[in-house]
Amino acid sequence: MGEYSVVGKRLPLKDAAEKVTGRAVFTSDVKLPGMLYAKILRSPYPHARVLRVDTGEAERLPGVKAVLSKNNAPRVKVPATFNESKVFNFPRDKCAFDEKVRCVGDEVAAVAAVNKKVAEEALKLIRVDYEELPVVFDPEEAIKPSALLIHEDRAKNIAAPIIMKFGDVEAGFREADYVLEETFRTQSQRQAPMETHCCVASFDMAGNLTVWASHQAPSALQELLAEYLGLPAAKVRVIKPYLGGGFGSKLDMHIEHICALLSRMSGRPVKIVLEREETFATVTRHAAIIRLKMGAKKDGTLTAIQAYTLTDEGAYMYHLSVLAVLARGLIGFYRCPNVKFEGYAVYTNHSCAGPMRGYGHPQSGFALESMVDMMAEKLCIDPIEFRLKNFASPGGLPECLARGAEQIGWARRKKPVKASNGKKRGIGVTCFTNGAGAGGSIRDYSAAFVKLNADGTAQLLTGAADLGTGSNTTLAQIVAEELGLKFDEVAVTAGDTGSVPYDSGAFSSRTLYMCGIAAKAAAADVKQQLLLWAAERLGVEAKDLEIKEGRVYSKQDPGKGVNFSEVTREAAENLKGKALAFLGRASITNPGHGESFGAAFAEVEVDTETGQVEVVKIVAVQDVGQAINPMVVEGQIEGGIQQMTGYALTEDVISDPKTGKMLNDNFANYMVLTSADMPNVDVSLVEVAAPAGPFGARGISEGITGGVAPAVANAIYNAVGIRLTELPMTPEKVFKALETKADDNH
């Protein structure tokens, strides 16, 4: 897109060498003198009163230094999530070590001991008296007025409904030539980052708390911990070391408060590292039931969209706003004069649902993009044409569709290939989108400092949390470009609330966008300071000056200039009694308009004898605005394809029908794609500048999450004529649908 020196370049990550040599220190590598090891006792029951917790014997076990339970833990209902909203009334419904457990895995006690073995032994010695209560796992059951209450201080198992409407859907359906209605079901998915949740907490003698946490929102965590512990924020410092993936599982306060409490009680540093099964159970993607109805005219114009949705929140309502994003995804994506959404977030005794990359888009995308294809077929309109006709704000989307269609060979679709052994091929298309940030409903702002060193190099201090997303590199590129410096001349400090300013956290594809706007603004601020100094020195107006390749010069008289580093050197030398520590600052709120659009194409091969679906190829073309670092952007999309191909075909949570416990809570049975399973992938970028983004960049990471599963579903339909409405599309489901179709044909 633009012509830049550092922005737009495929630069390797600044910390790549650290990671590839094994030197990078992650939270579980942190070791402090005298550190204790903690383990959490979790409820085996999905719903029970905790009558009595007897920790005496555990406390007496040699090597045990602190034990927590409802007997001594503070009864504080802190929002486990930073995600408090002005618009939606988020319930504060979670209290650690509560009087009641509401899902398998709910915390009942915790022990800090001299090593992991002693901690595990101590857990076995804790005696808990439970009074088991009836359970409900099905949101369609839990929503009934007669259903048992999971939170007794609420009148029903739901939060307030989300209702959005515009126009008159009844009239819209009457106007339509065709009306389609279908119910779609999407499963609970797990983030499954390779690093489990972990943290280390340590108090100093003055009562200052330092927490090393594998956490996506250090600033938010600092505030949550302060509130939970009754401390001023100035006494809480959160450090985020290298972080082994999050995908939403590490946005909320899952273990850090417990870790800090144990540290305070024992007077020693405490480390918690969750086992893989525990990490699987922390927060899940919302399973959803979406009943979607769509009306359209013969010419392809949409006249009405109506949706009724239930999301399974599980035991606590961490992120009820997923339902809102889902809603907007259904009714706000295409141009339609009459829309109505009615949705309920429902408590059940499943593990708590929460943020997972995509946050409502995978669910809404599957329903909407499947139905769009169904309608296109009904109208005998090409699926690409139909989408283009109805898309609300095209931007770069037409080019994405055109380029993707060519790359996949869209024309081949008319004659589906029938290979040997009963295998058939098909091609499907979808459109997808993501926003950048929270759309004004939650805390969403970012601050940055840029300081200049005496030698003219720069230091960016940013609240951005890099979890492998590359922000420590791309933000440096932005600052370097703004200041006319080389990439290596900009260093980045991040992930330490003691030394960097606030950022709301790594979620909603907002880090590059928001932290980038802030970094660029802070760089512009310090640039202005430098220009003022240089202006005085050169005897010109500051607005006459420009910086390029390390040189500050007059636009009118380019010969008149001084090196960037000369200016900073002079300012540092305190000559003539003048000195200036150049420090730029910025605090920005979300200007909006950071959204991104794209198109996904899938080619599948269906083995009609077994129902197995092989995804032969995924083509993804996304309008990312200015790609600050194309290699990083591609990597995000490619990773998203791995996750969402799993969502489409192989990843599912198999629950015990009696306890709701995840039976496949290990990597042997939770089927994320291996390198042998990954489809061939073709990712390319379109660059239509976002008006407010840093150098025109958009938020991009979550877009693909809404596109893959419906593209695969549409491709399966093209191949074998069956329409699957439930995820994941396992071989057994495909096989059954094929059998049913064959029977119907007889």
Partner: protein, 158 residues
Amino acid sequence: MGKRLVTMTVNGETAEVAVEPSAMLIDVLRDELGLIGVKDACGRGECGTCTVILDGKVVNSCITPAMKAIGKEVWTIEGLDRQLGKLHPIQEAFIEYGAIQCGFCTPGMVLSAKALLDENANPTEQEVRVALSGNLCRCTGYVKIINAVLAAARRVKG
């Protein structure tokens, strides 16, 4: 119970370590020898994150008894650049091709790639996929990892 002193060769150097008979190799490498590049992600040999090279073959160190390494050669990620005095071509390729995001799977992934190239200097893409199929990654989708390994193969050959 009680630890005993055993000898193994780790990253090219003789190491005398105190080992519990029931310890897993990952515990000894991380806790006794400070080799934090060996990462623990599942504890059950189901994800390959803890991969090390033992006696020339990749194994999951989280389910390998430490005792199995007595008198044998163990290579962790730290050994690669320490031995060469610079980055191994596979490591360079990983950096250059953007094959690293969060970095948690990276040490195990690089070692599996190394074991492949040591045995098969000219692998096909399919052979690379199979060689890495025991190493899970949740960030990259494997695309740039596979490209990096193929590029490294070309460099090591040339």
